[in-house]
Every structure is written in structure tokens, then in C-alpha cells.
Amino acid sequence: MRELCRAFLHRLASLFRRRHLEADLDAELRSHLEMAVEGNLCQGMSPEQAHRQALLDLGGIEQTKEMYREQRGLPMIETTLQDLRFGFRILRRSPGFSVMAVLCLTLGIGANAAVFSWVEGILFRPYPAVSHQEQLLALTGTARAESGPTDISWPDLLDLQRSCTLIDSFIVSKIMGTTLSNGDRAEVMVGSIVSANYFDAIGVHPILGRGFEPGEDSGRNAHPVTVISFQLWQGRFKGDPQIIGKTQRLNNVEHTIVGVMPDGFYGTFVGWAVQFWVPASMEENFEAGGYKLEDRSARWIEAYVRLKPGVTRAQAQQEISAVARRLEADYPETNRGRGIKLWPLWQTPFNNSGTLLPTLEIMVAVVVFVLLITCANVGNLLLVRSFARRHEMTVRLAIGAGRGRLLKQLLTEGLILSAFGAAGGLVATHWCSHALVLLFPARGGVAMHLPGEIDWRVLAMSAGVCLLATLVLGLVPAMQIGKIDVAAALKSDSAGVLGGGAKAWARSGLVMVQVSLSFVLLVGAGLLLQSLQKIRNTSPGFSTHEVLDTAVNLVPAGYDAQRAQNFQDELLERVKALPGVESAAFARMTPLSYRSFSSTPIAVDGYQHPSEEQPTVQYNEVGPDYFVTMGIPLLSGREFTRADDEKAALVAVVNETMAAQYWRGRNPIGERVQVEGRWMQVVGVAMDSKYESVREAPKPFFYVPLRQNFDRSAGLYIRTPLSPETMATALAREVHALDPDLALYEVITLQEELDRSTSPQKVALTLVGVLGALALLLAAIGLYGVISFAVSQSSRELGLRMALGADASNLLRLVISRGLTLTGGGVLLGTAAALALTRLLGNLLYKVSPRDPLAFGSALVVMTIASLAACILPGWRAARTDPARVLRH
């Protein structure tokens, strides 16, 4: 073994002293020959004979040198270097081709690398600052009565923490926001309510000050301390080195800043960069619904767990489920029908990884398509070039190059191209790592934080893609080498000898692949376009134009309920008095915004739910004139008035689905519904509208008066034909007149709100559409190339046909039918692929079947038009063939 190593090092070293060693070998062989000649002369040979015999005995100088060189260096490395040098020279000689190929590959590989980096940064390695994030799992509750995951209560979490032995730590991190006034604009700051072990458990430590101490997460409002992010420290506090110990008013409570986190740590919530953290003891100050640390029925926590080393998710789940069953038995009134579930990080249901998953899936599929298309396209370019290089290849074969050696040369050239493409792609990925955010609108005035992550896995993936591309790129022209018939090819240099049929077949095959891939993308784009249109044409059940939506958050400004009510009343009066305002109302939640409505268990007189559990229904707290302002028609009864205040009898308005489901055709007006133990009288039935998504099915929903269920963070809705900008100025003036410390959120139309809610569809449509158009263009160019090549190759045949009486239109038809045959083959392939793949679009489609004939039909039409366009020019050239000239040659 040591000997082998030594020999290898010896050989390796020789690579770098080639010139010296070559001179040495020269001298040694010269001295050998001289001695041999001398010896031969002594035996009485003539000088010529002596020289000849010496060479014979040696076996030739060059042959000896070649043998020696093979023993001396590392032939594989040497030939590779040689291939690289040669490859570079070849590519430099045709810069147009090389630049085109590298650009194509940069697009293909770069798109893949960028999407992989997003998948890595959002789904698989979302928290680069956190140590051992592979041991982290997300934790949520489940409830038999609800379809989705639920939050967890603090007492349940403490019980889990005490009882689970397989779990290293339970980490609470509940996202929330506060508003800091910044001039006359409200600036939203994303914060997080965390357990005291948070920073230690995730293994990220403050660069200044300290994290939270054990016990700081208990006691009602007992520990007004906060840890801030590096960005907040640098931005708002200008990097103040004396920051520790200073105070910051958060939601009207002075918090002492005890720590600053390192740069690059953005908390643990995919989609948002967290700016500050407070311990769970301060929860009441930031969360609606009062003090919840001792309330087992208040479910508000989002949490992660860190597994002990070697524990699997299944084992931990088993243990947690056992504890959850015990909690069900111990606390039936709060925990019946409820469990606890662990999720892999990339499926975390409470942050944006879950919502982005379908979009990312489509992106991955689309970029793989782009890669295939670019490979097919560059492959086609290479084929054309291999035709130009067939003479070179033939000569090299003839003078003794092995086919393997030629293959290696071609693969090396492919590698050079794809390596440049990969390098360009990675640079592009680095630039684009934050580009994903551009596809998603800011929500509530805060830009999302969706960084890509370029780590070794992304690099390895890109290298893999690059190698794959190399193989394709090298093998396409290599297929042709196998077919070279040296003797025949050397004899005649004219076209057609080099297995023209096979080459044409390969190129046609590649074009068909391109056509089929772009057909799939066209179908996808068609489906997405249709569903986006359907979404647009679907009435959400309220007016979207001429209704503006904004908010003034009174909680951070320290308003209590009474002051907030007075403020709302006064603002409403002032707004209604503004010119152009038709009506205005407050309500807690905006439909189709990113937040979800609260839901509550209800009971209805005389209604027995099929299952044992209480049914839960979502609701909204709305002020007087809400239905008029929003344009939601009332089917019967009345809407809330100013008389429905805290002193009046409790009332509710239900929607038509709820009326149908719980009162089964009876008129619900005057009937009672029980909400959280309080009985309310139904006074109106509203038409169904969309609440959380335009795509949702009709569902039960009810409204309660804001005054009887007061919340300080209500939004303001204004019906007016004026533009949001005009209104914003007037509104800001009125708000300032009432309280100069208050700031206004952005003012947008409900249509804007609706448009934002369809952003996943738009992102998908943009991606698929743009790339589909690109693919179509590439396919058309490929088709054009194949057809015009075929025309130029068969000019004799065309001339003959013409001489025999075919006219120009016959030839044009001939050429076009050839092009359409290829297109037809591609479309057939593409249809099969599309039928299998459009299911991926699944939940992005709305009222459109993944096999929608309209989408397939229009893709076919577009494809046909594109291929006709691609064939016209070569067809025209064929039709203009001059038989006299062609046949003479």
C-alpha cells in the first residue's frame, strides 16, 4: 500500500516537472544509442548499419519515450488536461454557439439552483442560526371537531413538559405584532412570545446582554423584559452599545431591553423576521383574550420540540399521544376529543412553510422542465455543430483515436459548458436568494422574509444537475460518433454520408421532446389562467370596489376599552362627515385577509349535532352599518344599529348556510343561539359571502355586534368612490386631530385585499406562463432549425419534384406537413405528460378540472400556430427551389 502511495506521489510530482524530465529522458536515450552504436561499430558494422541496429534493438525512440511517459505521469489526468485545453480552444472558436449554450444552461441550472435554495431555506433548513434544526419538530393540538391543527394551552404544555422523557425541550414561540408610530404612519413590528428556555433550547445566544432566565415565563405580567433582534438594534437604536438596561414601550408597557441577538437570526417563523421577543409572562399585553397562562381551555401557543438524540418522531409521537390521552381523562371538560401532534419542520402548519409548499412543488416541477428544455435545446445546437465537426472526428478516428477517447473529449466539452452554466446559475441564485419575497405582497405593511439558503446540499444538487446536463450534452453528439463509417466518410466529404437519417431522427426526437415540454407548460398556464379568471369573476359576496379598508391600532397606544369606544365613535362621525363618504363601519376582521377568523363552539335550541362534540362556527364582530358599507345583502331581518350596545339584549346575524344548517328551513329570526355560554337572539340573515378564501365552499358564519364583544383592534371600512390615496390623506388628518400620537395603517380597497389573497395563483401563473412562452420560443426555434436543415439537405429531391411537375404550393405543403408531423408527435407526448402532471396544480385550481378540454385545446392551437410560423420560412425557401440550378450540381 505504501509503495502504491509512493508511486502515485512520484507520478503526481512528475506532472509539474515535465520539461526537466523530458530533457532527462532525451539525454538518457541519446547516451544509450551512442553506446549501442559504439558497440556495434566495434563488432565491425558500417556506421549506417550500426545506427540502424541500435535503433532496432531499442525499439524506436518515440515508442520508447511514449512508453516511458505513460509510466511516468498520470495519463488520465494528462489527457483530461489536454481535453480541457482542446475543449476551451474549440469553444472559443465558435463564440456565438458557446455564449448561447452557456446562457441557456445558466438559465436552466440557475433556475434549479434558485428553487432548490428556496426549498432548502423555507422548507428543510428554515432556521440556519439554530443548532441541530434536524432535531426540531413542530407541535400542535388536534381536535376531533375541527379539521385543521389547533393551538395548545399553556397548562397542557407544562404537563407535556413534565411527563415526556423522549423530548429534550419544549420551545414556545408565538408570533404576534405590535405597532410603533413612525411619524404619521404606523409601523408594524413582528414579535414573538416565547418560553424562558427559548434561546437556550434553540442554541442561539445573545451577542449583548442575556437571554431569558428560568422563571421569567411565569407570573402575570411579572417580567417586562425583552430581547431585540440585531436589525432592530442597528435600525431603531442605531447600534447603541449602551442599549442593555434601556427601556422600550411595547403595547404601552415599558420593557427593559436585556439582550441583543446576533446578526442573521430572524426567529423561528417561516415568512417573517421577528424583531423582538418577550417572555410568556407578558402574554396578556400582546394577545387578545386576557391572562391565559392558567387557563387550560385557552389555546394560543405555537410550539416546537427538540428530540433527544436518537429518538424518532414516531417514538416521540407515541409518548406524547399517551400523555394527551391522560390529559383527556384528567380534564374532560377542556380536553375531550383533543390530541397533540408532531410535524416535521417542513410541514409546520402554523407558519408559511405549509402555505408555500404547493407553490414550491410547482416551482420544482417547472424548473425541472426548464432544465430539460434547455438541455434539449443545447443538445440540438450541439448536434448541428457535430455535423460541422464530422470531418474532424472522422480524421481523428482514422489516425487511430479510440472511440472512447473521442467520447471523453465530447464529454469534456459538455462539462465545460455545463460548468460555466452552473457557475453562472449559482451567481444568479445568490442574487435571487431574496427574490421570492417579490412574488408575495407585503401583508399589513410588513415585507415577508423568505430567504433562500445556499448550503452544501444546494451546491451538491446543482453539481448533480450540472453532471446530468454534461452527460446529455456529451452523449447527444457522441451518438453520432458511433455511426461514423471512417472509410466512407473520408472518401466523400459531401453531405448525407454521416448516417443522415439517424441524425435527422435524433434532432427530430429532441424537437418533439421540446414541443411536448412546452405543450405541458402551455396547458398548465391555460389552467391557471382560467382558474384565476374564475376567481376574479366569482363574486366574494361583498363589494370590492369603492370599499376601502384601514385600521388604527389602539392597543399599543395604551387605550382602554372605554377610551377606544369613544375614539371609534368620534372617528366614525368625522369620517362620515367627509365629502364623498357614503357610509363607514368598524369590524374586527377583514374578510380574505391573511388572518383567520375566530371560531367558537355554539349551541342552538332544538338542534342536535350528529357527533358528540359541540359544533364550532366562525364569526366576526361588526359595528353598525357594516352590511351596508360592505354591500352584503340581508335576506331577512335587520342589521346592527347603535342601539345594539353593551346595555341592550345580545343579538346576532347569521348567514344563509348557517340558517339552513341549524334551523332547517325554519326562519331563524327571533330564535336563540348560544355562544360561549351566552344566549343571543338572531335578528337577521345575511347572504353567504367569502370569508377566508375565494375558493372556499359556503360555510356557516355569524356576526355579533362589536359593542357587545368589544375589541380595541378593530378595522375601519369606508364606502366611497374616492381613491385610497385621497382618502388616506383625509383620514390621517382626522386621526391626528383626535390624537396626534396615533398612526394609520395603509388604506387599500377590498379589491386589493382580494388580489393579495390570490397571490399563490398569480405566482404560479407568472412562473408557468413566462417559462411556457420561453419554452414555446425555444421549441419553435428548434423546429425551425430541423425543418430548414432538412430543406437544405434535400434540395436535390425538391428540385427533382419540381422538375417532375410539382408546383410551389405542393412543396410548401410538403415542408409544412413534415413540421406538423413533428409537432403532432410532440403534442401527443405532451398530452400524456400533461394528463399526468396537471394534478400537481391541484389546489391552486378553482372550478377548473386538471383535464379541462379548453386548456388542452388552446394549448394545441397555440402550439400549431407556433409550428406553422416556424415552418413558413423553410417552406418558402423550398418552394423557391430552382430545379435547373439544383439538378446541375
Binding site: 512520484h10 539525454a27 553506446m35 558497440g39 531499442l58 515508442q63 520508447t64 505513460e70 509510466q71 511516468r72
Partner: protein
């Protein structure tokens, strides 16, 4: 062909070179070639050129070292000499050869 000449058996050239160097001391390539042919009484058909890759191979393995010097008739020549590792290698390979040839002889005689 008048006298049947043997080709050098694959892998035995190294052994021949090592043995020559052991008995003759430091030698240049031409000298080794002449010596091998003499000892084999010209029955061995040696392509002298193959000696040089063999010498390089032995040098890479550390069995021989080379040094430029002056030959007996005043020429510049590269002299090869056996190292300690080379001697060990020779002993091993010679023993291997003995064992192998004895075995082959036995097989040839019995069948």
C-alpha cells in the same frame, strides 16, 4: 527462425533488472540490457526500450535510485543502483519465482 528466442515474460523484467543490479552494482540502462542479453546467451529477445519504463517503475517504488555519472568510456550516463528496499524486493520476488516455477514444473511433469 533459427534459434528460438523467448519473449520476456510479463512481470519478470523487473526481476531480471533487480538481479542484474545486485550482481553487477550500479549500472546504466544500456549496460543492464547488454548484461541481460549476455547472461541469457542471447536467447532472450529483449526490446531494450522496455527497460526504461521498467527502471522508472522500480524507481517510483523506491527499489532503485538513479544518478547521472561518467561511464567506463567517458560518456555521460544515468546510473541505477539498488536500494535496501530493492534488495528486499528482489529476495521476495526471487522466492516467488522459485515457488511458481517449481509448481509449474510439477504440474507439467505430472500431467
Amino acid at each position: 527462425m533459427a534459434s528460438p528466442k523467448s519473449e520476456v515474460l510479463q512481470g519478470t523484467l523487473d526481476l531480471l533488472v533487480l538481479k542484474t543490479l545486485e550482481s553487477m552494482g550500479p549500472m546504466h540502462g544500456f549496460g543492464i540490457a547488454v548484461r541481460i542479453q549476455q547472461v541469457s546467451e542471447d536467447l532472450l529477445q529483449l526490446n531494450q526500450g522496455t527497460l526504461y519504463p521498467a527502471l522508472l517503475r522500480l524507481e517510483q517504488r523506491g527499489c532503485v535510485v538513479s544518478k547521472w555519472g561518467i561511464s567506463e568510456n567517458n560518456r555521460n550516463a544515468k546510473f541505477y543502483s539498488l536500494t535496501r528496499a530493492g534488495r528486499k524486493q528482489l529476495a521476495e520476488e526471487a522466492e516467488n519465482w522459485d515457488r511458481m516455477s517449481a509448481m509449474i514444473n510439477r504440474v507439467l511433469r505430472t500431467s
